[in-house]
Symmetry: none
Subunit: 126 residues, 4 copies
DNA sequence: GTGGTCTAGACCACA
DNA sequence: GTGGTCTAGACCACG
């Protein structure tokens, strides 16, 4: 039994990632209030406990502050956000390179491929 | 109800992708026989119909050939494999760049980030 | 409704504290295996999830390492243990001083009281 | 079955302690009337019998006096209050030292730790 | 309303 | 066996 098709990463962690990226993209700005635990649970159709755990995770990373009785807010500490941004960038690159290596591409081919792509994108991306 | 967490891409398509990559990686070589529909269905724990559809998909791309009564085989046509390889490469790159753009990185930063990563990997990849 | 008598600190956190102190006291040494989640849950009569959370908390502090399928173990990193030791010491002192202040004692009286106690203990402690 | 988490000390005794400390802190002054048994029972959400027993305990220590038909009052005998104050101080110290010993600290370290703490507190207490 | 804790019980992955 | 995740639903404390 392998069950390759439900991504193995836990939901709370996927959710945390999504929120991180929303913050980076600027959809959520420092000081903004996140949806309440229960609301987000309904939105993404998971158990409130799971959202709770997501928020707790984000709090651990100091990306978010939870205020009992008030809500959960994006940190106003820009430095932490920058750190997270850098970390996610490295993750993304590392994952990309790993995937390309798996397909048998060399570092040089990867670099060339990227450059070619970047210099030719005018609206022909997927 | 959003259900963001079971990746939206259909299973047969995910399966096709996985097989493609196995071929590129050399785990499956031109002329190799793929597992029978029933066997693969058991292995990855999906319905045989889904595997059937996956194979049909791959046949459509001329990456595999089904020989009635014998099984399904990786094409020996190297040109087609090269084309697929190229297509997957473009997909990978495009997806990577899209992700980086979403995080607000410019093309220049992406290129620089990749180069930095490639020139510094000694064993510190994820 | 005040309910002053169920210590407000969450169970998982009390449990974590108890385990910390066991480690400091040397009842649990670096590399030792903690009881399994389920066993400890039975021992202290709480839900396994609560113990799970305790272990997770300790893992976050890097005091403990959980190895799936094997168990949870006290870290062998002595430096972390020293740090924790120092932290708990400060907590204990701070709490003591706070309590004494609440009873109206001055810093000088606290210091004198402690010295008197330490120099007179021969077996007459509580 | 251990049930470590509901502090093992009986409630009436915890309550007595709390009242003692209120008196020491000056929240309750000599001659002040304590709440009626029923009122206090409601306030702290315990059975009136428990409060009754608490008051009897305090009476035994001569810290309060019950005047039939009028209520329960803090003693005006300063000497007794001083004695209690001293006793609670010793308790506090003894408990503190015991805790530090449990963590493996020597008497010298305890004294040094306290002094360091007292001389450095500017607002950085817990 | 908000976040936080806890239980009960199920199911998963690793070994 | 081990730890880890998730759901359902209850209850708490803060405001």
């Amino acid at each position: 039994m392998t069950d390759i098709f439900q991504s193995t990463q836990p939901i709370y962690s996927q959710l945390a990632d999504r929120i991180n990226r929303k913050i980076l993209r600027g959809e959520l700005k420092p000081g903004d209030k996140l949806p309440s635990v229960r609301d987000l649970a309904l939105q993404v159709n998971v158990n409130p406990n799971t959202v709770q755990r997501t928020y707790r995770e984000l709090e651990g990373m100091e990306i978010v502050e939870s205020k009992r009785g008030q809500g959960t807010f994006v940190t106003e500490n820009q430095e932490i956000l920058n750190t997270m941004r850098e970390r996610l960038k490295q993750d993304e690159i590392s994952q990309f390179v790993k995937g390309m290596h798996e397909m048998g591409y060399t570092d040089e081919e990867i670099e060339a491929g990227l450059q070619h792509f970047l210099h030719n994108q005018k609206g022909d991306q997927a």
